[in-house]
């Protein structure tokens, strides 16, 4: 680890006109870009994320948020005002990370400048007294040691070397700071990618029932739920249409899903519709958007023949209730039923709807409240009939998957008889002679269609981030110096021209293995000298 501390204070005693505003700004900036501030902000960021996991979040699970509002009617609005259900978009969360990133930029820019300078500068001259360094040794060179030869040994080991007279200075491990800067810069790039995605991205969710007549085309209106980034207009959505041809799901005997696959026809409106298939883990990737498979279920086909003998068929997706065997619930409404053919008058009190469950594998005997298996081994609907005003004309938007309970409680919509189990092909005759027939089901899937620009940038940034991180954590900055000294003539050394080589080493980052490395380096220099001499003697 480098011993980087809070930035050095400004040189003391520099004559400066005291401008209080400027001084305050400068001080605040220095505070903001200090390591301590970064630490505090990092800590705050971690703490601030906790409510995002404790409270349900709108972006993740809006139903749970609604549930929370129902369970805690007093507390929930308060929390909502504080952004508790949208923590990661809240003012305070944003404030923390924006401050952190400002601090980050303020921290890395000057370091980049310094590092670029360091990269261009040469390793510094040897300190006078090498023996003061953490690593130090003196070796007797058998022959007149040549600083250039020592430099060559170091260069082979990828040290940056400079020779000054009888001195060799070398430094290694610039990768540490390079990696650190790359790492911090790519953090900024990741944030930019996030920003791009939220400005220019869009997504929509919907349910798609199999069959050509149910195909959907990519427009804002076709989504049950959609959100467009602030820089996206609904006319910007790319044009394509999607038809679900088939859906294939396999389950283990235990009921655990094993395999899903949706087969679709894609028409990108360039002339030739094409077939494609996708599944969980392998989305359908179109040029302009990706289509993800989120879930699946069944849409019972129900045929209602009214008392005037006119029939209507409706394919209504029943939503899964969350149980693994795909017990589903829904409503088939026939608001246009029982229109007197004589008068052509629509009597709102004669509308009809069926509410209940769909069980892909109904049990042999009652209660018929849940399915026994997720595939259709004994498909059946369990329905209750209602007649009266469905409340669809009141202009209040209601769910197509539920009856309007207000109509029921106000008595405008009345239950007729008891609930009834219908297998495929079975017909139920109601009190007024009208009938309901259960014809079978079609599969449906739930989809998320998404365009997320910025993802490539984020991916690249993440790769750089990792590389930089490793460089930063594992590279080690260190310096060594070699000084060639002529042997003391008084020592009476027999070989003329022999010399002493003094070596010193300084790890600039904590480096437990530095002693070993230094020893190896010194040995290499010594061996190289010997080899050199042998070579020379050989020639002679």
């Amino acid at each position: 680890m480098t011993t980087v501390d809070d930035r050095p204070a400004a040189p003391a005693g520099a004559p400066r006109r005291p401008n209080p505003v400027l001084a305050l700004l400068r001080n605040s900036w220095r505070q903001l870009t200090s390591m301590r501030t970064a630490l505090v902000l990092l800590f705050l960021l971690a703490v601030a994320a906790i409510p995002g996991s404790v409270l349900p979040q709108r972006g993740v699970n809006p139903e749970q948020v609604d549930q929370y509002f129902r369970d805690h009617p007093e507390l929930a609005p308060q929390l909502d005002r504080l952004g508790g259900f949208e923590v990661f978009a809240s003012v305070w969360f944003s404030a923390i990370y924006l401050l952190l990133f400002t601090s980050l930029v303020g921290c890395i820019l000057p370091r980049m400048r310094d590092h670029l300078r360091a990269l261009r500068s040469r390793p510094p001259a040897a300190p006078k007294r090498l023996e003061r360094l953490p690593q130090h040794t003196v070796l007797e060179a058998p022959a007149a040691a040549d600083p250039e030869a020592i430099a060559a040994v170091l260069r082979r080991r990828r040290w940056r070397v400079v020779v000054r007279g009888n001195e060799v200075s070398a430094e290694k491990g610039y990768l540490k700071e390079t990696g650190n800067l790359l790492f911090h810069t790519s953090l900024v790039a990741v944030l930019l990618g996030v920003a791009l995605g939220s400005w220019f991205g869009w997504h929509g969710n919907r349910l798609l029932v199999a069959g050509e007549e149910n195909a959907f085309c990519n427009t804002r209106q076709q989504y049950a739920e959609a959100s467009l980034g602030p820089r996206v207009d609904s006319t910007d959505l790319p044009r394509f249409c999607l038809t679900l041809d088939d859906f294939d799901a396999r389950f283990l005997p235990s009921g655990q899903p094993e395999f899903y696959r949706a087969s679709v026809t894609v028409d990108e409106l360039d002339g030739t519709p094409r077939k494609a298939a996708f599944s969980v883990n392998s989305p359908l990737r179109l040029d302009s958007a990706n289509v993800y498979l989120l879930g699946h279920g069944y849409a019972p086909i129900l045929k209602y023949t009214d008392r005037y003998g006119r029939s209507q068929t409706s394919t209504v997706p029943f939503l899964t209730t969350g149980d693994a065997n795909l017990t589903s619930e829904g409503v088939a409404a026939f608001p246009d039923a029982n229109v007197d053919p004589q008068t052509g008058k629509r009597d709102p009190a004669q509308q009809i709807a069926f509410e209940g469950l769909y069980l892909p594998t109904a049990p042999e005997t009652g209660p018929f409240s849940s399915s026994q298996f997720p595939t259709e081994q004994n498909p059946a609907v369990v329905l209750v009939a209602y007649r009266g005003n469905l409340g669809l004309d009141a202009g209040i938007p209601g769910s197509v998957y539920q009856l309007d309970q207000r109509q029921v409680s106000s008595g405008k919509l009345k239950q007729i008889g008891d609930q009834r189990l219908l297998g495929v092909g079975e017909k139920w005759t109601l009190d007024d002679g009208s009938t309901l027939e259960f014809l079978g089901t079609k599969p449906y899937i739930t989809l998320s269609v998404r365009h997320a620009p910025g993802q490539t940038l984020m991916l690249v940034a993440c790769v750089v981030l990792l590389g930089g991180l490793m460089g930063s954590l594992f590279a080690r900055r260190r310096r060594v110096w070699f000084r060639v000294l002529p042997t003391d003539p008084t020592s009476g050394s027999p070989t003329s021209g022999s010399s002493l080589v003094e070596a010193g080493g300084l790890p600039r980052t904590e480096h437990p293995g530095f002693a070993d490395e230094f020893a190896q380096l010194v040995a290499a220099v010594r061996d190289d000298g010997r080899a050199d001499r042998r070579a020379r003697e050989g020639v002679e």
Binding site: M1, T2, T3, V4, D5, D6, M35, R36, A38, L39, L42, F43, L45, A46, A49, I50, G52, S53, V54, Q57, G59, V60, N61, V87, F88, H203, L252, S254, Q256, P257, E258, F259, Y260, S279, V280, N281, S282, P283, N290, Y292, L294, S448, R450, A452, Q455, M458, L459, C462, L465, L466, L469, M470, L473, F474, E510, P512, A515, D516
Partner: protein
Amino acid sequence: MAELSDQLVTFAILAYLVAMISHAVEYALGNARAVSAKAPARELVGAGVGAPGDTVTAPAAPTADEVRTARTARRAELAGRIAAGVTVVAAAIHLGAVVTRGIAADRMPWGNMYEFVLTVTWIGTAAWLAVLAKRPSLRRLGLFLSLVMVLLLAFAELKLYVEVVPLMPALQSYWFIIHVSTIIFASGIFLLGIVPAVTFLMRNGYEQGRRSFPYTLARRLPAAAGLERLTFTLHAFSFPIFTFSVIAGAIWAEAAWGRAWGWDPKETWAFISWVVYAGYLHARATPSVKRNVATWIAVLGFLTVLMNLFGVNFFFSGLHSYAGVE
């Protein structure tokens, strides 16, 4: 195969228990004077130099007391060696349990929390043995490691156990292997890292003269500086792996759920852990932050990892809810 795996887990727990007891014996017999004189010396000599116990200085004329001390020291040494040997055996049995579980399930044995804990603890032990091979002087930490293993494995067996089942479709992807294997690996190292972190905090207090309860336990521990360095090395090693696995998770989530990052509770807590560990590395690089403060941050980081592993599965529901606790 599944039953074999279950039996092996039980045996592994027993073996860790034996290792723990031997370590405890070593600890109890350990001669405080010899240790405190020895440990720093070995620290200076450097990693892995010389077998443990070879720095005992020969007294000029052994008194009866000294003879007794020497005998106790020899016994402690023996207990320590036995403990290390039993840990190797325990790790082998443990590995057998993981592998047979994988064979029984016909997939990587990381499909639910039980299997996850089983594998994470094995990584922790294996990494510990690697550390021990390099730095035998740290052997006494084995007491704390085996304690952690016994606790976690027993918890897994009692509270998390589930029958072998195949993977759900959302988990059938090679990203599953990449994401989960790296997260397990990183978690295993973080798990191991907590041992020197906590012992450092105790030992550091002890060296600063504290003599109250948890600190006195540290009397026979290796020197604080070495523990701190090991803590850092382990965390610096696993942090990039953890980072990678979070990124891999995001790539996988993009394919499986249609968004790379959605602040689902698991993701949120992974983010929290990542930020806390980044905070640890920062704190350690800032000289004005004391080493014990930095180490506390690492401990906090591990608590967030635990929270993600257990807390999130038990308290929250999210897309990651197939973790399989019945």
